[in-house]
């Protein structure tokens, strides 16, 4: 089998080829290691050699997905492998333990081909907050891949990895998946263990797959999900996850939150969104308008809650036990100089915001109120799911924007998460699938547009079925310039 055929196959197809003996797991790993070595997107922060990729892995175990290499966001602790979370403060840090999510993939026989670049501590929507340089969008090297799982999205879209593991706090899987033209799934909070995943905002963080298609997402999710005794907030998905097979959407109701689809949405993105809802109707689904009245406060609530949690989660990076240490003159200067030099500007901004929001005298006005908004958003979704089976939105209001275009204005950058944050606050599963392409607002070549589908908590199976049927109807086949034909 020619190498380019192998690289063109999805992860699920590749697993089938290995299981059927068409290619060996060895050939497969070598092909992908060679491919990863050609990374011109700054997608990888660390690349495995054969030995490192195979550590603790039996690629011929026959487990689902066995032998298919996986790229892993550099936020998952990995024994013996540098893990930075995209931050200078963890430069040189080598964890003494491995995250549950990655252990589960290893146990399924998936070699790890590398650790992918990301926004520092997963804070960002463009991957420009990485201490190790931005990731380039494989569709246009002058544009961002989205973030924070920008490296994971770019390497999958650029065929530098068959699939990848990412994390999503307010859209960090779905938005880069949309901007890079691939599938990204954020499972229900609690579906997958967070143990070993470096925390940004603990009540929102959830890992998930970034893949070529919906079937691959289902396959990886089926291996990741499950209760873990190391994470008391994990519960798993009852009944597990199977590969989807639905061919239509007969009788299913899809709700469009009228409150959210307004200004700020690019015309090209709107057009693709409308084409996609028409595709839903062709498959027998119905489109209804629903109300998510508090969702427009989602961004404000999110940017209080997530920084508040981050301010305490990131307090441990103090130079005492691991990672970088600046100045040993005295305790306070060690803290100040280590954290001053180790954290980037966006991380510092959020630590300041969060510290303020939790301060005595301000807690109720900020954190307390944001928690109440979150509760109202949860109720909004509960009510909506009494009326419809799924909620659909564009994944991102724009296509991939230019490097440096939004870095000067944090609020504009935060608005990228407008459509993804409400689902994170509600803890419900949501998937982004590529739905077409559109020219950017300022003109230029066509770029991918994502379509987001959200479902009630733990309804991953029906979410994947719907996305699978819709994916086939859309028939998205465009590929980025990065991919050699």
């Amino acid at each position: 089998m020619a190498e380019h055929e192998l690289l063109a196959a999805t992860a699920t197809e590749t697993a089938g080829l290995i299981a059927d003996g068409v290619v060996s797991s060895d050939e497969c790993l070598n092909a992908w290691l060679d491919r990863a070595a050609e990374d011109r997107l700054n997608g990888y922060l660390w690349k495995a050699d054969r030995a490192a990729a195979m550590r603790g892995v039996d690629p011929d175990s026959g487990a689902p997905g066995a032998g298919v290499p996986v790229a892993v966001k550099d936020i998952f602790c990995t024994t013996g492998v540098p893990t930075t979370a995209g931050s200078r403060i963890l430069e040189g840090y080598i964890p003494p333990y491995t995250s549950t999510a990655l252990s589960r993939l290893s146990a399924s026989g998936m070699p790890m081909i590398g650790k992918t670049n990301m926004d520092e501590f997963a804070m960002g929507s463009s991957n420009e907050n990485s201490a190790y340089g931005p990731v380039l969008n494989p569709w246009d090297h002058g544009r961002v891949p989205g973030g924070s799982s920008g490296g994971s999205a770019a390497v999958v879209a650029g065929r530098l990895a068959p699939w990848a593991l990412g994390t999503d706090t307010g859209g960090s899987i779905r938005q880069p998946a949309a901007l890079c033209g691939i599938v990204g799934l954020k499972p229900t909070y609690g579906a997958i263990s967070r143990y070993g995943m470096i925390a940004f905002a603990s009540s929102l963080d959830q890992c998930g797959p970034l893949t070529r298609d919906v079937t691959d997402a289902a396959l990886m999710l089926s291996r990741l999900q499950g209760r873990d005794e190391m994470d008391s907030t994990s519960v798993g998905i009852e009944g597990g996850v199977e590969l989807p097979s639905a061919v239509d959407l007969n009788g299913l109701r899809f709700g469009i939150p009228a409150d959210l689809i307004g200004e700020g949405l690019e015309a090209g993105v709107r057009k693709v969104f409308e084409q996609t809802t028409a595709a839903i109707e062709r498959l027998g689904g119905s489109i209804e308008s629903i109300a998510l009245p508090h969702s427009d406060h989602g961004i404000s609530a999110y940017y209080v809650l997530a920084p508040a949690e981050a301010s305490t989660n990131l307090a441990r990076y103090d130079g005492v036990r691991y990672g970088m240490r600046e100045s040993e003159d005295d305790l306070v200067s060690m803290y100040e100089e280590t954290r001053g030099a180790g954290f980037g500007p966006e991380v510092k901004r959020r630590i300041m915001l969060g510290t303020y929001a939790l301060s005595s005298g301000y807690y109720e006005a900020y954190y307390g109120r944001a928690q109440r908004v979150r509760t109202m958003i949860v109720r909004d979704f509960d009510k909506a799911f009494g009326q419809v089976d799924f909620v659909v939105t564009p994944t991102s209001p724009t296509v991939a924007f230019g490097l440096g275009e939004k870095t000067g204005d944090p609020w504009t950058m935060y608005l990228n998460d407008l459509y993804t944050v409400p689902m994170s606050l509600a803890g419900i599963p949501a998937i982004s699938i590529p739905a077409g392409t559109a020219g950017p607002a300022g003109g230029g070549p066509e770029l991918p547009v994502g379509f987001q589908i959200a479902a009630p908590a733990f309804a991953e199976q029906s979410l994947l079925e719907a996305a699978f049927a819709l994916e086939r109807e859309i028939g998205f086949e465009q590929e980025p310039q990065e991919v050699e034909r």
Binding site: P95, T233, A308, V320
Partner: protein, 482 residues
């Protein structure tokens, strides 16, 4: 405020109890004391990136046991919070503790109301070495031992119901005995498994308002706590009497010098930025867990002391001593179980008095080390009670029992210590003593009753302690015309 107005102390306590679980509060590392530094650590208790806490079920069960013993209301759903502060003894830079919804609410122990009790994790231990030992400022190096970090703690907070240092000591000892009895902690103050902070203020007697309080930190014995509080109360009273005002601050009492030092003032107080711990779900004790705690509750010191006093007629002092230590209580109960005919009051006095003293005298033995059985001590008490031997003979017998486990009856027989029960014989000896000691006899006759002691002593000497002291005095008084 009038300076003549009488002031009273108002004291509340915060007590930290290290639980003696096998493992730490949120990870699987074993608890230890005195092991090599940093051997009981893992990524979780060292706060590596990405780790998560998982609560120790036994620690929650122990907390429920403490709550039951202190008659606290148990919260149906309590939550953990993060208490944020930067210091190397706190690897996450926050302590997981409980804040507005603790596992245990209002309760009571003895005459002091409990405000609340909550679960949390202990900090690591810091050692400052070099130039300015003991404090981080000015030391050459500061070392952190994370073995202790993450040890489960229950913090018990009382209402401000205590009024003196002596009361704090007594109540603190009751609390320590109560928790020791539950078997959930070593409650060793020197090793730090029991730590006590006190909030102290003064106010005019009869007022129901509170004065400005100071906080006294980490005193490592109840004697020092008593002295520290007395010193602080005296300081505050003097300050107010001289027209001054108490400033809110944290104090350290140095038992060596008896001096109080300020550690930090209110302005330097931390803003802990409490936040609900998102990594943990609420603690929801099941009916079975609550029932198990109630069923596991042994008879506690306060209850036992009351039973000894009210049902067995034991003196208050002996009842307290016996109740505070299960080992002694069991010994005492063994004595009266083997010898139901003896008076429990007398048995309790012998156990806590002469017997305890003899153990101390002969090599400071612990109760567990003695060869004396409850049965044989009971036999001795019985000999005294039936007046077969005198009190002073009994002490001599006891000394032999403690020395080599001798049988009291055999000792009495071998040494002929049986009390003189023939009153004719005793009368003769008394008459002889009066004849041989004319001077004290004359003093007694002329009204100096105290002089009778010399005569009693003479009789005892003549009988080698085998006479009943009460009977001797009665006969002497009769013969001397009193």
């Amino acid at each position: 405020m009038s300076s003549e107005q009488e002031l009273e102390a108002v004291i509340g306590l915060e007590i930290h109890v290290q639980l003696s679980t096998r493992t730490k509060m949120f990870c699987g590392c074993e608890l230890s004391f005195g092991d090599r530094a940093n051997v009981h650590t893992c990524p979780i208790c060292l706060a590596h990136p990405g780790v998560l806490p998982v609560p120790n079920r036994t620690a929650i069960e122990y907390a429920l046991l403490i709550a039951a013993a202190l008659e606290c209301e148990v919260a149906p759903r309590s939550i953990f919070h993060r208490k944020n502060y930067f210091y190397p003894d706190s690897p996450k830079a926050y302590q997981i503790s409980q804040y507005d919804v603790p596992i245990a609410g209002a309760g009571r122990l003895g005459d002091v109301r409990i405000h609340r009790a909550h679960l949390e994790e202990d900090a690591a231990k810091m050692v400052h070495v070099g130039h300015h030992r003991g404090r981080i400022q000015g030391s050459d190096d500061s070392l952190v031992d994370f073995n202790r970090g993450g040890t489960p703690l229950v913090e018990i907070v009382t209402e401000p119901d205590l009024r003196s240092g002596a009361q704090v000591r007594e109540w603190g000892q009751l609390l320590r005995a109560t928790i020791r009895q539950l078997g959930v902690s070593d409650v060793n103050m020197e090793e730090g498994s029991l730590r006590c902070d006190a909030n102290v203020s003064v106010r005019p007697v009869g007022s129901d308002e509170f004065g400005t309080k100071t906080e006294m930190k980490n005193m490592n014995s109840f004697r020092f706590i008593e002295r520290g509080i007395e010193a602080e109360v005296a300081r505050q009273k003097e300050l107010i009497a001289s027209g001054g005002q108490v400033v809110q601050e944290t104090l350290h009492f140095d038992p060596a010098t008896g001096e109080l030092h300020s550690l930090r003032s209110k302005e330097e107080a931390h803003d802990y930025r409490y936040m609900p711990e998102p990594d943990l779900v609420p603690v929801v004790p099941t009916r079975q867990m609550l029932d198990a705690a109630a069923a596991a509750l042994p008879e506690l010191p306060a209850e036992r002391s009351q039973r000894y006093r009210e049902e067995l007629g034991v003196s208050e002092g002996a009842a307290l001593k016996l109740s505070f230590d299960l080992e002694w209580a069991e010994f005492f109960e063994g004595v009266i179980a083997h010898h139901p005919e003896i008076e429990p009051r007398a048995a309790a006095n012998w156990v806590t008095g002469e017997f305890a003293a003899e153990l101390r005298k002969q090599g400071d033995q612990a109760l567990g080390e003695t060869v004396v059985t409850p049965d044989s001590l009971g036999a001795l008490v019985r000999l005294v009670g039936s007046k077969r031997i005198s009190h002073s003979s009994a002490k001599a017998v006891l000394a032999e029992m403690v020395a080599d486990g001798a049988d009291p009856l055999e000792v009495v027989e071998e040494r002929g210590l049986e009390q003189i029960s023939d009153s004719g014989e005793l009368e003769k000896i008394v008459a002889q003593a009066i004849d041989e000691n004319p001077a004290p006899a004359e003093q007694v006759r002329s009204g100096n009753e105290k002089a009778i002691g010399a005569l009693v002593g003479a009789v005892m000497k003549a009988t080698q302690g085998r006479a009943d002291g009460g009977e001797v005095t009665r006969l002497l008084r009769r013969d001397l015309g009193l």
